[in-house]
Amino acid sequence: MANLRDHMGRPIVAVTGIGVVTSLGVGKADNWAALTSGKSGIHPITRFPVDHLNTRISGMVDFLDSSSKGASLLTYELAETAANEAVAESGLDSSDFGGPLFLASPPVELDWHDRFSLYNSDGQGAGAERLLRVARGLKETDTFATTQFGAIADRLADRFGTRGLPITLSTACASGATAIQLGVEAIRRGECDRALSIGADGSATAEALIRFSLLSALSTHNDIPEKASKPFSKDRDGFVLAEGSGALVLESLEAALARGASVLGILRGCGEKADDFHRTRSKPDGSPAIAAVRAALADAGLSKDEIDYVNAHGTSTPENDKMEHLSLSTVFGERFGSMPVSSNKSMIGHTLSAAGAVEAAFSLMTMRESVIPPTINYDNPDPAIVLDVVPNKKRNAEVGTVLSNSFGFGGQNTCLVMAREPV
């Protein structure tokens, strides 16, 4: 009989369904095949003209029906597709899920195409005054829906029959991990037996790209797109903007076993710590990220020697990779040099609000498949960052536990600890 409570007497949280979409494809099978063969999903931007742009590459998801229909519809389709895969795998009813929904998704704004179309449907007046006048004469509410922060979750709640008020959240680039953390916490509190946690981001619009570009956050290595994302390399020059989604069905281990579900992994622990140093930069001593990692280990009831592999945030920005190395080496000490640490973002880019969920999905698969996906484009190691990044080629390895890091603008640091077995 498996132990159903963790080291703090809380219900153990199992994963019984996993879904994922990235620029590498739809679903776990395609993604895993690409990821373990070191294939990159980064490609030239075709969704909009790239005139005047310094960055002309991305990891956009260009193959869905909604790929050219704006951030709101694409984010919904990404979320729906990943969640559908996860719920189907769990064996639960995909139209009557019966647990709460936690959705990490990008902040919404009226799409420029809609703004143009509203504005140019009328010739009177100018600026905002004209937009407002046109708005109040609108006969449809589809445009309105794209401006409501709760609308995507509302639609998903209808689609999957989730229970109660769905929570839409943002912790910037840590959002996906926070969605999972909220699900874990709800199950541990005994509020529910199961939760659907989704991270989805289809917001790679021209304006989003320009905004990150103006903050000097993006790689401008446009010439060979698949080589642009190179975490932990000396010549890394920014992240690659990308889209994707990850979904997990979380369940109390007790409920999962009781209904005979396959347990795909365990969400052992979550940790977080906010940084008060700067809006985009981390405290120079790395203390908030260090605290988040330690909080996740403590929550999981594991010592630093019990983590087999780190799924790094590894964005390929000069700042992140340096700070992540500092934080991890501080926590793990001497052992760190020989610990595998790889970055999925070398292949899929930075899926922003989805990243934490996408990478949790890949972390769980790493344990199940006993294969660590590589960090590709590791041709020019940064001598200041001595790491076993699982360079360029996948590695077969028994992995029983994973630490997955997610850090974001606004001082967001969230870490997840996952395990293969319930213990």
Binding site: F48, P49, D51, H52, L53, S105, P107, E109, L110, W112, R115, F116, Y119, N120, A126, G127, A128, R130, L131, L132, A135, R136, L138, T143, T147, Q148, F149, G150, A153, D158, L165, P166, T168, L169, S170, T171, A172, L182, E185, R188, R189, A206, E207, I210, R211, F212, L215, E272, A274, D275, D276, H278, R279, T280, P288, G408, F409, G410, G411, Q412
Partner: protein
């Protein structure tokens, strides 16, 4: 029966057109016949309740920090500072670094001048996507993105007030405020947290913030009316207001052990998602009222009703159906503050419990007086478009 893990309210930070702070709000709202502060010209045909004059320096000491925020973030950071001050937490390193935070946020203000210039140019250009690239790459202020980003209100609270235990931002209009309070309370009750800063802010004096309502025709037009009296008037019934509300929620034991004043106890917080297109709203409101386990006897209700026709009439019908309830539609005096609406309702409920007195009617034509001491007050937020929530606030 009080328990050490009760959730209690030990800090309140409020800003609205009526002023700032719990005392100022109480004094104003306790005056019978108080008239709202209205701005009817600037956004005509829409009326808004504007921000009062604020000396940002009082809560955001560094000018550099103020410059990194647009008004919405500044407003939220300011209101959060008021709540932290009120709870005796501000400046206390140990309490701030262990304090959790859940912020209900929408988005911040875009650059209206840049947008207007792009729209104007779009009239004579067919290559609008290229136009966008051309203008946005050259005319956007690089850090404006951060001043708009939803989770950067929380980020700024961390930077300015040093609240760093954890930081989560919920999005989704009134529902975000409901979920923020509900989740924060659940974390305290279960022992996952001892003290949490929770709240939100809304800055309506920006065309995009009005557009967010008006794309579905939700805004009231023409002469201003109290929130319950807008059915049949021109427009959609909602009058918005700028404001912010933050609460410090604390485990009772934690609050008493540091000798803090307790405003009130936060009882059940309930939430729901009616599928309104299927006509579920009336039943959902009734179900929430039942779930909240209203006490026997008369009950004061601080209603967050927005004025939006369908939602407001459904809420009014449900509250009117219970003769024990005396409702106060505070949006009559503050306007609708979107993500901040529910935290604001809870704050006003806590103030009434603390002052042992009900508010006078805000609308003599539709609201009925409440005599006696309110031991328990109901707070509601029925979303103008979606999501519903309620809480009971009890004597400490």
């Amino acid at each position: 029966m009080s328990s050490p893990r009760d959730v209690v309210i030990t800090g309140i930070g409020l800003v609205s057109s009526l002023g700032e702070g719990p005392d100022a709000h109480w004094q104003k709202l306790a005056q019978p016949g108080l008239q709202p502060v209205l701005e009817a010209a600037r956004f005509a045909p829409y009326t808004v309740h504007p921000l009062p004059e604020i000396d940002w320096n009082l809560q955001i000491a560094k000018r550099g920090d103020q410059r990194q925020m647009e008004t919405w973030q500044r407003l939220g950071t300011y209101a959060a500072g008021l709540a932290l001050d009120d709870a005796g937490i501000k400046g206390n390193d140990e309490l701030c670094t262990t304090m959790d935070m859940v912020v209900a946020a929408g988005g911040g203000e875009r650059d209206e001048a840049v947008d207007a210039a792009i729209l104007a140019a779009s009239e004579s250009r067919n290559d609008r996507d290229v136009l966008l690239n051309e203008k946005l790459t050259t005319e956007l202020r690089p850090t404006l993105f951060l001043a708009q980003l939803s989770n950067l209100l929380a980020g700024n609270i961390s930077i300015v007030h040093k609240v760093t235990g954890s930081s989560r931002t919920f999005m989704g209009e009134e529902g975000a405020g409901v979920a923020a309070v509900e989740t924060a309370a659940a974390r305290i009750r279960s022992g996952q947290s001892t003290h949490i800063l929770v709240g939100g802010a809304f800055q309506t004096e920006h065309s995009d913030m009005l557009l967010g309502y008006e794309l579905a025709g939700y805004l009231h037009r023409g002469p201003w009316k109290p929130v319950w009296q807008r059915q049949g008037a021109e427009g959609g019934g909602l009058v918005s207001g700028s404001g912010g509300a933050f609460l410090v929620l604390e485990q009772r034991e934690h609050a008493t052990s540091r000798g803090r004043k307790i405003y009130a106890e936060l009882g059940p917080v309930v939430s729901g998602r009616a599928r309104r297109s299927r006509g579920e709203l009336d039943a959902e409101i009734a179900a929430l009222l039942k779930q909240a386990a209203l006490p026997n006897g008369k009950l004061l209700a601080m209603s967050g009703a927005s004025g939006a026709h369908t939602a407001t009439s459904a809420e009014k019908a449900a509250l009117d159906a219970n003769p024990a309830i005396s409702a106060r539609g505070f949006a009559t005096l503050t306007g609708h503050m979107k993500e901040a609406q529910f935290p604001f309702a809870v704050a006003l409920a806590a103030l009434a419990v603390d002052r042992k007195a009900a508010y006078p009617v805000f609308d003599a034509a539709t609201e009925k007086p409440f005599e006696g001491i309110p031991e328990t007050v109901l707070a509601t937020a029925i979303g103008y478009h979606q999501f519903e929530g309620m809480a009971l606030v009890n004597t400490a």
